[in-house]
Amino acid sequence: MDRVRKRKLINKIALGLSVFAAFLGLFWLVFIIVSVLSKGFSAINWSLFFKDPAPPGFSGGGLRSAFVGQGIITIVASLIGIPIGIMGGTFLAEYGRNFKFSRLVSDIADIMVSLPSIVVGTFVYSIMVRPMGHFSGYAGAFALAIIMIPTILRTTEEMLNLVPWELREAAFALGAPYYKVIKDVVYRSAAAGLFTGVLLGVARVATETAPLLFTSFNNPFFTVNPNQSMPSLTVTIYQYAMGPYEEWHRLAWAASFVIVVTVLLLSIAGRFIINRRFSKR
């Protein structure tokens, strides 16, 4: 009887501690989101999206240049990162699944997923910015692509591995060549997962500041030319939040608000797609 009471007591303590820890973690998350939302929301207005930054000290102005720059950098990064990630993941899961080399690539990609992004920034600085002699949107996009590739590569590999081999064999047994098996059967079966991987990969790089600091840097003027330094939301937040002007702080909150909401929506969309796919099976 005594032992049962002791066990119940330990159980209650463990339960209490884990609930406390969960709430502690959740508290800060909610705190951050709520403060960004409340401080950012009040700063949202039309001029934020349609006007370029006003000169320091003046009010008015918006962050159109940063939104456009962020958009261009993210799109160029996606154009490089998504195809390489998907094709690389396809190689690992399909054509190269028996090679030791593939395991190595897969393990390195795993390590790269947790690589500090500032390292990627300095790396691209030394191989692109220095030789070219100036900061550029391309360099920023390239740095983001490097961060994006391992994420997409690994999710692609895992999602393709979830497709049962029997399904591939069934397509082979009808006389399909391998590329058609992949295109018609494997990709289709894994479509939701692949899409989610891409979504999460893009969401991950859209929030990066460090790799852009040394690559696309910043530009107070509106530009659509990625061959020169380019503004981005994250770097703008970094600089404005550090700046001395009240107006800059307001804009930084507004930009944070937009980023948080966008990433939240992307992640929720990703989760939603995954859940729907797996409940349907």
Partner: protein, 251 residues
């Protein structure tokens, strides 16, 4: 009259250093159903998968001997795509592709390069009728194949194999993942199918072999122990090993 469609001569199969099949000699007769029986791990599925060269998908596999088909040795054939459109296969678990019922059944035809829409439609319908599924799906041909029940999926997969009009269809325990009602439907279908094609079926269920097949081969530890007309094999086996297996004394 039994006409030989495929002739297996002195077939040996190796996985790495391990020999799985030993000196198998066997004739498969046209428009007949041949069942392969034997305890788990005896090599019956391995044997089945030699006929459409499925083992080529994996490394370290080696064939020796011959499987003669229209004067050619299947094991030496270069064009596997052509071969596999003549030798269909149905797997243990249903393998519907993530597309509509129609696209599933038409998939093999499209692979063969059939472009004529009318012809594809006709063949799809014919195959679904042949697989005893037409009445159940004719109103929802364009809905996802994954929405069908397991038994329906398996019949759709059979229709998919039938659509390219193969000379033989290989069945690898096609009912082991199905409930008894779906199983009896498939068995009924199997006995009708041999009018239009030839069937080679692996089963671990001896009653099923007795019900659906004309010939039965008993395989044990990679050796073909006995090959006979099904009725003779089950009522009057020549080999003691066969008798012991079919009376349930081992395996």
């Amino acid at each position: 009259m039994n006409q030989v469609l495929l002739s297996v001569k002195d077939l040996n199969f190796f996985y790495g250093e391990t020999q799985i099949l030993h000196n198998i000699d066997l004739d498969i007769y046209k428009n007949r159903t041949t069942a392969l029986i034997g305890p788990s791990g005896c090599g019956k599925t391995t044997f089945l998968r030699c006929f459409n060269r499925m083992h080529d998908l994996y490394r370290n596999n080696r064939y020796e001997g011959e499987i003669l088909y229209k004067g050619e040795n299947i094991l030496k054939v270069k064009d596997l795509i052509e071969l596999r459109s003549k030798i269909g296969m149905v797997f243990q678990r249903p393998t519907p592709f993530p597309m509509s019922i129609f696209d599933n059944v038409a998939y093999g035809l499209k692979l063969k390069g059939v472009k004529d829409k009318k012809k594809i439609r006709e063949r799809v319908e014919k195959a679904l009728v042949g697989a005893a599924l037409w009445d159940e799906v004719k109103d929802k041909l364009y809905s996802p194949a994954l929405d069908l029940s397991g038994g329906q999926q398996q019949r759709m997969v059979i229709a998919r194999a039938l659509a390219v009009e193969p000379d033989i269809i290989l069945f690898d325990e096609p009912t082991s993942a199905l409930d008894p009602i779906a199983t009896s439907k498939i068995e009924e279908l199997l006995s009708n199918l041999k009018k239009i094609t030839t069937i080679l079926i692996v089963t671990h269920n001896m009653q099923q072999a007795a019900r659906v097949s004309d010939f039965t081969a008993f395989i044990y530890k990679g050796h073909l122990i006995e090959f006979e007309e099904t009725e003779k094999l089950f009522t009057n086996p020549k080999e003691e090993l066969t008798e012991r297996y079919i009376t349930g004394r081992f395996g």
